[in-house]
Subunit: 102 residues, 2 copies
DNA sequence: ACCAATACTAAGTAATACTTAGAGGTGGGG
DNA sequence: CCCCACCTCTAAGTATTACTTAGTATTGGT
C-alpha cells in the first residue's frame, strides 16, 4: 500500500466516513467516486495535490500528514495541527533548541 | 508556484545544488533532467511520490517537508527531522499534552 | 440466508508527465 | 564588449498515468 493510501484510510477510519462519502465531501463526482477512492487507498492510483488538500480539510488533518512516511512524524503533525498559534511557536522554539544542542 | 515547487527550490538553494545536479543525484536521466527539474520547480508538472522521496534524501529533509503548505509546519519538520529518537519522543509528548490541555 | 452498504476491479478514454530540441538568461575572463 | 560555460526555461510530440464506466466481490446487520 502507498503512503497516501495508508494515511487516507487511517484518517478516514478515525472520523468514521465511507470511502464514497469522503470522496463526495471532497468534491469528486458521484459517478466515479467509488472506483477512484478505492484506487487511491489501495495505491493503484495517486490523487493530485489539490485533491489531497481537500481530503485533508474534510478529515481535519494537515495536508502534510497524508504524505507522512514515518509514523512518529504523522503523529506529531496531527497534534501540532490543532494547537493555537502561540503553542505552535513554543513547539517550534523547543524543537529548534533541541536541534542546536547537539 | 506549486507547494512542491516552492519547497524544492527552498531546500535546493539551502544546500547549494543546481536543478540539474539535484535531479541527477535523485536518479533522473541526464537527457531530460534539466527540463523536468524546471517543470517541477515552476509547477508545470508534479513529480511522483517515489521521486519526491529521492529528492528528500538528497536534500536531507523529511519527505513531508516537500509537501508542506504552511511555513510553520515546514520549519518544524526541518528541525524535528534531525532529532534523536529520544528527543523526537519528547517533542511528540509535549505537543500531545499541549493539545489535550484545551 | 438475505439485503443494503461498502469496497473493489478490468478495460477503455481522457488527462498528465516525460522527452526532445533548442532558446533565453547570468556571470566571469579576456 | 564578446565569448564561453553554466543554468534555467519552453513548446510540442510521445509515453505514461489517472479517470470513467460498468459492473463484481465483500462485509455487516437482521
Amino acid at each position: 500500500m502507498s503512503v497516501i493510501g495508508k494515511r487516507l484510510k487511517e484518517a478516514r477510519s478515525r472520523v468514521g466516513l465511507s470511502q464514497e462519502r469522503l470522496g463526495i465531501l471532497a468534491g469528486i463526482d458521484e459517478m466515479s467516486v467509488s472506483a477512484r477512492m478505492s484506487q487511491y487507498e489501495r495505491g493503484v492510483h495517486t490523487p493530485g495535490y489539490p485533491l489531497v488538500e481537500r481530503f485533508a480539510e474534510v478529515l481535519e488533518v494537515p495536508v502534510e500528514y497524508l504524505y507522512a512516511k514515518d509514523d512518529d512524524t504523522a503523529e506529531l503533525l496531527l497534534y501540532f495541527h490543532r494547537l493555537s498559534a502561540d503553542n505552535k511557536a513554543r513547539v517550534i522554539e523547543m524543537t529548534k533548541n533541541m536541534d542546536l544542542e547537539r
